[in-house]
Amino acid sequence: MKGPLIDTLVRQGVSRRTFMKYCATLASMMALPPSAGLAMAEAMASARRPSVIWLPFQECTGCTESITRSHSPTLEGMIFDLISLDYQETLMAAAGHQAEEARLNAMKENAGKYLLIVDGSIPLDLDGAYSCIGGRSNLDILKEAAEGCAAIVAMGSCASFGGIPKANPNPTGAVSVSDVIKDKPIVNIPGCPPIPVVMTGVLAHYLTFGSLPELDDKGRPKAFYGETIHDRCYRRPFYDQGKFAKTFDDEGARQGWCLFELGCKGPVTYNACATAKWNGGTSWPVESGHGCLGCSEPDFWDAGGFYKALSMPADPLKIAAAAAVAGAAVGVGLSFANRAKKGAAKAAHETTTLADLEK
């Protein structure tokens, strides 16, 4: 497609204000200052449409589900249309040899320029025989596609860190994209699945600035993964006040108090759920009353149990000095309280407790 993005949008009946509104929301999601929305709108309006190839490996299609769900009639969907998605097995009409041909053609025509999206981990055991497409191993296809790409987006926890296929004992020898490809810029968008707008946000950033966004030490865009769930949680004030739900049905739970003691991994999980939310901004796990599972962190499946309280206070180094002292005191108090509670529960042999859930 030729010409700036805003012209294409206008042809599709999208007004400039719709676009500005979208950019304002996007800037908010990316934790940019509110004024950045305007700057983004101006830059993005003149962007052009890049070719994108999406490869699915050892995955459950949950990532694709997540991304397609949020889209259809929204502007995000249009932005998605405004990239040239040349290969996506689940979404494309072509199949078999035709599909593979589309991929090879796109790779040839856009050599050195296309964006490669990967979801799913790559199995290495038995020469990669655990997962093949068209008779070729994932490892083989990834290496071939990575060679001519401008950058790789590792979609979801499996592509980013190995995810559930890599969970102990990792029967297929699953690894992440960055374990295989070492010579290309890679951006990890972990989450099980990742938040749709985070995906479109990274694409928008690529359209806007022609480069990948700034990344943290785990290769995640800082705009979305710069702060923990806990930092942005609307229940955070209750943590600071030491108000905790002790069970899923007590008064504290009804009052919406902090879920830290019920195993919430929010303090050590970097993701944007607390601000971007899910299902079109309807809600998110903590708002629906369940602690964060930490799905955007490496090896979250083997991290010791979803209902066990973290033994450490919430990242004391990151909080301001005064708050850190209070936080640490709460944390230490908690681990003692937890131990005492577990002991008491065991002695009294009460009905189902959190400890039982952990068995």
């Binding site: 400039r16 204000r17 509104k21 908010s28 502007l75 919406g256 079109g280 901004g281």
Partner: protein, 139 residues
Amino acid sequence: MTLDSIPIHVIESSPAEPGLSGNAPPLLHELEEMVRRLLDSGETSAIDLGALPLTPADLDWLRIGLGEGEIAVTLHANGESTLSETASPGVWWVTHRNEKGAVTSEFIEVAFVPELVKAHPQDVKMGLERLELLISDLS
């Protein structure tokens, strides 16, 4: 054993209303500073409410405190957005919604007129072409 027989020492809950986190009042000071800047230099600014740990009760408290002004603008673009002036002129409560009516982002904007309300020269040019077309149809 009934619940009544368990001795409970009731501690008076905090005097604040339920659900208030205490994070909203400092925003008023920030707004005060922003309005001063608008008056002194014409600089516009905004607070992204989605980025702050505010409870629904906090938002209500803020909304009620800021009050209703004389002007409310409704924008129909990919869902409805409202830009309402508060009782303090120059302070606007901006809510963006998607087609299903869910809030996608919320700001307090400090400006004489929010940027989104103004017409872009490019769009005005297109409007002019339309007018010219209308006029040419007259003859």
